[in-house]
Symmetry: C2
Subunit: 231 residues, 2 copies
């Protein structure tokens, strides 16, 4: 049976990955990280969608507050507003969590090895969010090689793969891909502030809003919140 | 100031790494993982030596019981005895923790990035313990590349390095290296069973005993336990 693990944070990109994987694999395992993120509401939203889709869901605890160095894991480091982000120096924004995707992929690889799974799917992309070193194609390829050298895959003919199908897509293209696959974005949250209702100020809200405008549709999350009388 | 992180489990190899690093770096940070290991006594022993040496010590929590698949993290999987290990099939022994060193190095890299540290030292070696895919030179090189691609090192001229100075040494050679550096092994524990007093049955005890015989000295841990009347 063709099995895979999807790194599923509950945001737009990984929600699309989940639907992308469901189209291509017979058994899709959702893997969510409870990593001490400010916006931990994404965890319950991710679990909710996995439950709705009837797919196995695992939440791994790894407290990256122990490392810090990011406004997502250290509340003393303020969240950047999008406009201010533009003025910042080169290099990753304060929302970059040091080597987060390396840590997540390493844990996913360990779990994949135990489960006998060869493919790990992630929604990394770079066009709309440059300066994150751990979402680039070069990183994905290097990490795949490290996993193939450091696990029992090094002894097997069948290697492990990290698939990042949206790595060169804009966020609006990713949404269009998801919509064509029937993706439900109404419980997908992106806001860094940690509330279900988007703050509309942080860089993540800004990018999401811009992407839905480019798609030419209203954000299903906003539509749901309006319907529920929450906004 | 030349700074480094040493992956310090408290065993023979990483104790030697610590002394190796102290000779070469101005500031050595000890990093120990509390990963749900059966033999968690190694954590307090590692902390004890770091304290004695007066070096900064960090213990990171990452519960690999969440992943399982190893007799070190899942007590339902029995520890192999050395003789039986010889009879086993090719491939890693039950004490292999899936991609453990990939997970540890990924976390170390994230922490190194926050601290502005470029060098990570580890005591990996393969001669006496083959079949562990995540202690091989090829893995170390691939993981170094993944870290350099997935962190801000990708933007800098100065890259990160993973140094594994003992990767091609036998355990007895590693001990000799440590003794020449003045290493104190009297609180270094290796036994997988989780007691301070070695079980003398598990594969780790066997390898340690054999190494000290090759060195031609009595194990300082045994000498200390005898002196304290514990054995």
């Amino acid at each position: 049976m063709k099995k895979c693990i999807v790194l599923f944070s509950g945001g737009i990109d990984s929600t699309t990955s989940l639907y992308w994987a469901l189209k291509r694999f017979e058994r899709v395992h959702s893997l969510t990280f409870d990593y001490g993120q400010r916006h931990r509401i994404e965890i319950s939203m991710a679990q909710r969608l996995a439950r709705k889709l009837g797919i196995p869901q695992k939440t791994l605890q790894i407290d990256l507050k122990q490392i810090g160095g990011s406004s997502l894991t250290d509340t003393k480091i303020p969240l950047p507003e999008y406009e201010k982000l533009e003025e910042m120096e080169e290099g990753p924004p304060p929302t970059y969590v040091p080597f987060r995707n390396g840590i997540f992929l390493a844990l996913a690889a360990g779990w994949a090895e135990v489960e006998g799974i060869k493919d790990i799917i992630c929604g990394f992309n770079i066009i709309d969010s440059p300066h994150y070193p751990d979402t680039r194609k070069q990183f994905v390829e290097a990490m795949e090689e490290a996993i193939n050298q450091g696990t029992t895959a090094s002894l097997n003919e069948q290697k492990m793969r990290i698939l990042a199908p949206f790595v060169k897509m804009k966020k609006s293209q990713i949404i269009k891909e998801g919509l064509s696959l029937g993706a439900d974005y109404s419980y997908s949250v992106s806001c860094y502030s940690g509330e279900e209702i988007p703050c509309q100020k942080c860089s993540s809200c800004f990018l999401r809003q811009k992407a839905w405008e480019e798609v030419g549709q209203r954000d299903p999350l906003i539509l749901r919140l309006e319907k529920e009388g929450k906004i």
